[in-house]
């Protein structure tokens, strides 16, 4: 009986690590995608002259991976800086805003605080339709992304065709 319990616990913990491993991998992939997006976006005039700022709303596994990338890479010869905003009102002066899946704020309240020239990236089903520029989705166990062209345009940015051909284009009709 005890043995069984132990075994069950063991399996549970294993499954947990496996699950945790999966989400870490996913977070690392998302961070890499976010970094790769920067290569296909025409940033125009940047918000900060010296740094390229990626803001993350709330806590996320992606943050750590982004920090790893930031330590070794640059965007348009600028240092990458990761900023964490705990609530929408703190959002300020960033080039990319990543909106993690688990946050307690409504999307609209977040978008209201986002200024011009900011690329919004979310990871919640349907968020692209609701007005984020890019939105991560899982299709057939693969990480894909949706792109809302209107959201990108209204942010005053341009996305490269090489990027868009990989994206699922959605219409941001709900925002209108």
């Amino acid at each position: 009986m005890l043995k069984r319990l132990l075994f069950f616990l063991l399996i549970c913990s294993f499954a947990k690590t496996v699950l945790a491993q999966e989400s870490v991998d996913e977070a690392r992939l998302k961070a890499a995608f976010i970094y790769n997006f920067t290569k296909y976006i025409d940033w125009g005039t940047a918000s900060d002259e010296n740094n390229f700022v990626i803001g993350v709303l709330g806590s996320s596994l992606v943050t750590q991976s982004l920090q790893e990338i930031a330590s070794t890479n640059t965007v348009a010869n600028k240092k990458i800086v990761i900023k964490i905003f705990s609530k929408p009102s703190e959002i300020d002066n960033c080039d990319i805003l990543f909106i993690p899946q688990k946050n307690s704020f409504s999307l609209q309240s977040v978008l209201d605080h986002v200024g011009k020239g900011v690329l919004t990236i979310s990871e919640e089903e349907g968020f692209a339709r609701q007005g984020t520029a890019f939105n991560f989705v899982i299709k057939n166990d693969k990480l894909k992304f949706e792109a809302n062209l209107k959201a990108i345009n209204s942010a005053g940015l341009k996305a490269g065709s090489q990027l868009l051909k990989l994206a699922t284009i959605v219409n941001g009709d709900k925002k209108e």
């Binding site: 890499a32 995608f33 790769n36 290569k39 296909y40 490269g160 090489q162 990027l163 051909k165 990989l166």
Partner: protein
């Protein structure tokens, strides 16, 4: 030879052109496939970055319409794993050749492999490999060979024709020259010239030959002139010597003096004969006709006279075996006698004392043939063709005979002027000279008589 040379040159030129063509084609092909690989490279950067192998696969499958000669293509990711692959026939059998990684393209017997790294911001993010089948190249080579073979035959035919014409033109003239040279060296007629309208090395050769002939002719003419003048000048004092010796011989009674005078007389006669021969030859050479004083006479009587003259003087037995008494011919009696005397004196000179000399004669329907046969040493076959040339002396040193070697030359000339022939037959047991005289008018007379 010319054909072979042109064939060789043609083959080399053709081989060079084929090799160059194949090389150019291969270079062009490799370059075009490499640029294709570079297009794939640019297009597959973002799919690699966003791990979208579907998109990469779509890029590759576009090759089916844009580049149907590509049989396989694969994209490897940064870690060297297959990210996307394409196979024209959907049979996945693409092995990357091991030595491809160093070069950007590689030719095998029937395929071209191209490898191209996928670069993004100076960072290798993957690799493209492409495999192309070379059916087009093989067809190109095949058609080249076909054209080559056809061309080769056409050119061969052409060069053969040209060679035949050139040969006809060159060889014909060379052979003419050689033929003339042979003829001249055989007949000694140095007045031959060759006309040639060409303006090349052969015509130069022919011109030089003609000049040479001219010089030889001139030299011969001078020599003959000299012989003519010399013999004529010698003859005048000799005639005078002969006349006075003859006179002395009649006046002299003393035996010993008479004997000396006879010897002087005999040698004067010999000298006279030699000078006469020289005069004859110089007349023949200068092209003057030895004038024939042709009259009808009995050949039997002439034969009698000639044999009698020798019978008395020499130690040979001369036998007449002919049956020509009463037969007449129309000819120069004196000249025919000269021929007979020559032949008889030769027969006696070249056969041992005491042996026989046989004269035979017969009549054909057209000719009278006289044969003078001795039982001496004979004449070697290789000399027989030369003995009628002037100044020809036998090469046999064991025989020492005086004279200029003009006798037979004069005989031949006399007989030929009579439209007859003179020839020799020689065996080990002696020599037989024949000459023929055409019977001409005599024959018709006889026929008339017969009718």
């Amino acid at each position: 030879m010319q054909v072979f040379t042109s064939l060789l040159v043609l083959s080399i030129v053709f081989a060079v052109s084929v090799i160059t063509d194949i090389r150019t084609y291969k270079e062009r092909k490799a370059n075009s496939v490499i640029s294709l690989a570079q297009v794939i490279e640019t297009n597959s950067i973002s799919p690699l970055q966003f791990d979208d192998n579907e998109a990469a696969k779509n890029i590759l499958s576009e090759l089916r319409s844009t580049a149907p000669e590509i049989t396989n293509a694969i994209i490897l990711n940064k870690k060297g794993k297959i990210f996307a692959s394409y196979s024209k026939t959907n049979t996945d059998s693409f092995h990357i050749p091991p030595n491809l990684s160093e070069k950007n393209h590689l030719y095998t017997d029937d395929h071209l492999y191209v490898s191209n790294p996928i670069m993004n911001n100076n960072e290798v993010v993957g690799k493209v490999f492409i495999k192309v089948e070379l059916t087009e190249l093989q067809e190109l080579i095949k058609s080249k060979y076909q054209i080559g073979v056809v061309l080769l035959f056409v050119a061969l035919g052409c060069s053969f024709l040209i060679a035949v014409f050139a040969q006809a033109y060159i060889s014909k003239r060379l052979l003419l020259l050689v033929g003339t040279m042979k003829e001249v060296s055989r007949t000694g007629e140095y007045n031959k010239t060759i006309s040639d309208k060409g303006n090349d090395e052969i015509s130069t050769l022919i011109r030089v030959f003609n000049n040479l002939m001219q010089q030889i002719k001139e030299n011969l003419r001078r020599k003959d002139e000299f012989i003519g003048i010399a013999s004529h000048e010698l003859k005048t004092p000799l005639t005078s010597i002969k006349g006075f010796v003859e006179l002395l011989l009649e006046l002299e009674d003393e035996e010993q003096k008479k004997e000396f005078l006879q010897k002087a007389m005999a040698n004067s006669k010999r000298l006279d004969k030699l000078i006469n021969d020289l005069l004859d030859v110089s007349k023949i050479q200068s092209g003057q006709q030895l004038e024939l004083n042709e009259k009808e006479f009995e050949i039997g009587v002439l034969l009698d006279e000639a044999t009698a003259a020798f019978q008395m003087a020499q130690g040979h037995e001369i036998i007449r075996e002919d049956n020509l008494n009463g037969q007449t011919v129309i000819a120069d009696r004196q000249r025919i006698e000269q021929v007979l005397t020559n032949l008889l004196s030769n027969a006696i000179k070249y056969s041992p004392p005491g042996s026989k000399v046989v004269i035979n004669g017969r009549k054909t329907t057209t000719d009278l043939i006289i044969k003078v046969r001795d039982f001496g040493k004979g004449i070697p076959e290789e000399e027989q063709s030369n003995i009628f040339e002037r100044f020809y002396r036998t090469k046999d040193n064991s025989i020492h005979v005086s004279g200029f070697g003009l006798g037979l030359y004069i005989c031949r000339d006399i007989i030929e002027r009579h439209q007859g022939k003179i020839w020799v037959e020689s065996q080990e047991k002696g020599t037989a000279f024949y000459f023929s005289i055409p019977l001409r008018g005599i024959m018709s007379n006889q026929q008339n008589v017969g009718l």
